[in-house]
């Protein structure tokens, strides 16, 4: 077991009884308040037996860097105003791309401690009003100081991890493409996602554009041939290419947490938080391994310890695929597949919706979008939908689902969380 792992328990049980998310995408006509209102309205409507917003006692809101992206900080009271939680306490949390899971962690601890009974956790980010260069600079604020100086971008750090993984285990870009292709297979099934096209759809669209321009139409044999073609999939931070990277997005999400003894007042189908863990990491120069995130290992040990569950008990998960290599490393760090074997299992289709261990049925950050502060609770929204059998066309087929999990990463692995949920 790793340092600090334990079988720590919550002071009392905590259940999720509502969840909502805005559409994710690039919305020139909506700001963070509009997006949060959209998520909050869906959350209220999702509570089967109803909730009076006046009964929400406090909230935590994850936001990474709206300070930079839209030049506005101090989002707690702004969200308190939007939701009507004002004058009660709303606190902003920051953990880079894991900001809203940290919001949920604070909310969880507040209810488990007995301080509150009914609280909101959510997140929001508004990125698309910036240019790509500005967003790149804004996100790079969350790399380790030494990485930024050495010219690393966000995709660059993950690119370096990919070369280390390829070298150690004999994988290659073609294996990461299986992750991208799988995410895009799920994408058309998520009506709230940013991208709704499969790789095949995008190939046909590109061919049509070339034909219209009177230029030579590419003749790709399959998805991978297209993804190897730099005119379709240009390099960003080799070996990370465009289709290895999640997009720039706007969006918001939130969940309602209540004390276990109150859960049935709100719904007959609550989802219980049975395990939570969070770890910290040091960056490329000091991390123990270049093919693993030390923060993930810590988070997983804590969450499995709290829940008494093992990796094989988890039936499906949303993991933080900011870049394709990240999804591969996460599924190994969390124990779903042995180290160095994940890419083979993925190649065999095990992480597809029909596979043994479905990963990112939402389309993942790659296709659903990644408004960074909103991502953690949006991953929980997907698990809530799947566990309740309400995921529509993307519902994992043919299985009675009762254990799901979310893994959220902030920065270049500086913060990782792992949360396990149960439907009883």
């Amino acid at each position: 077991m790793m340092a600090g792992s334990s079988k720590r328990k919550l002071g009392r049980g905590v259940a999720i009884v509502g969840a909502g998310m805005s559409n994710f995408g690039m919305f020139p006509d909506k700001d963070s308040k509009d997006l949060f209102a959209e998520a909050f309205a869906e959350m209220l409507a999702s509570v089967d037996k109803g909730i009076d917003p006046a009964d929400i006692q406090a909230a935590w809101i994850g936001n990474f860097s709206n300070d930079f992206f839209v030049h506005q900080a101090h989002w707690g009271p702004i969200i308190a105003d939007v939701t009507g939680i004002v004058p009660r306490a709303v606190t902003r949390t920051e953990g880079a791309c894991a900001s809203s899971t940290l919001a949920m962690r604070d909310a969880l601890m507040a209810v488990a401690s007995g301080m509150y009974d009914i609280v909101l956790a959510g997140g929001v980010e508004e990125m698309s009003k910036c240019t790509t260069e500005e967003v790149t600079e804004g996100l790079a604020l969350a790399t380790s100081p030494y990485e930024g100086e050495a010219g690393y971008t966000f995709p660059g750090v993950f690119g370096a991890l990919a070369t280390a993984y390829f070298h150690k285990y004999g994988a290659g870009r073609e294996h990461l493409m299986n992750i991208t292709i799988k995410s895009h297979e799920n994408a058309p099934l998520n009506p709230k996602g940013q991208f709704k096209q499969t790789i095949r759809d995008l190939m046909e669209a590109k061919k049509a554009r070339m034909a219209k321009k009177g230029e030579p139409v590419p003749d790709w044999a399959d998805e991978k041939e297209a993804l190897f073609d730099p005119s379709f999939n240009p390099p960003v931070a080799w070996p990370m290419h465009l289709f290895d990277c999640c997009p720039i997005s706007d969006g918001a999400s939130c969940i309602l947490l209540v004390a276990e003894n109150l859960a049935k007042n709100f719904t007959d189908k609550p989802i219980y938080v049975v395990g939570f863990g969070q770890g910290s990491g040091r960056g490329l120069h000091a991390c123990p391994s270049l093919t693993s995130f030390e923060a993930n290992r810590q988070a997983a040990a804590e969450a499995y310890g709290m829940s008494g569950l093992k990796p094989k008990d988890v039936q499906f998960a949303e993991v933080h695929d900011c870049f394709s290599i990240a999804e591969l490393i996460h599924v190994e760090d969390l124990g779903f597949f042995p180290e160095g074997e994940g890419y083979k299992a993925i190649a065999e289709g095990e992480t597809r919706r029909e596979g043994r261990m479905p990963i990112n049925t939402s389309g993942g950050l790659k296709c659903k979008g990644h408004p960074v502060g909103a991502t953690g609770t949006a991953q929980m929204y997907e698990v809530w939908k799947q566990l309740r059998g309400e995921a529509g066309e993307r519902q994992i087929p043919g299985r009675d689902l009762y254990i799901g999990a979310t893994q959220n990463l902030g920065g270049t692995g500086g913060t990782c969380t792992f949360t396990i949920f149960e439907r009883r």
Partner: protein
């Protein structure tokens, strides 16, 4: 005995003087680059400066085609990518550093395990002068 405080600011001043300096635990001898105030191993805060040999091998790398503004100012970008990497030092530590003297437009020509030696890139002048840690093929 080097008397400068153990800090990133001192570390960067050493780089400007073309020295790659780490901190060494005065109690258990463990090395850290960049320097650390406390020893992970024994918890001691008795740190002293230690000059690294500046030799190592490439442990991981990436070739950046979409680059941050400060690298664009050096003329890098989509048509002129650069390489940055992770270097495993002969002392058993790692540093992140720019990799010079390789063809970043042909990433597959760059090999993990290739021997490297330290070099220092001086950029800007006056108040904007800055030295970046880099490595090149040995």
């Amino acid at each position: 005995m080097e008397e400068r405080p153990i800090s990133d600011i001192s570390f960067r001043k050493f780089l400007a003087e073309e020295k790659l300096m780490g901190s060494k635990c005065g109690k258990c001898g463990k090395l850290y680059v960049p320097p650390r105030h406390f020893c992970y191993e024994c918890g001691s805060s008795q740190m002293e400066w230690h000059e690294m040999k500046g030799e190592g091998e490439l442990a991981a790398y990436t070739c950046i085609f979409v680059c941050p503004a400060f690298m664009a100012e050096e003329g890098y970008g989509r048509k002129n990518p650069y390489c940055t990497g992770v270097v495993a030092l002969s002392e058993g530590l790692r540093v992140v550093a720019r990799i010079e003297g390789v063809d970043a437009s042909k990433p597959e020509s760059i090999k993990i395990g290739m021997p490297l030696k330290v070099t220092f890139l001086h950029r800007g002048e006056g108040d904007k002068a800055k030295t970046y840690l880099a490595f090149k093929p040995a």
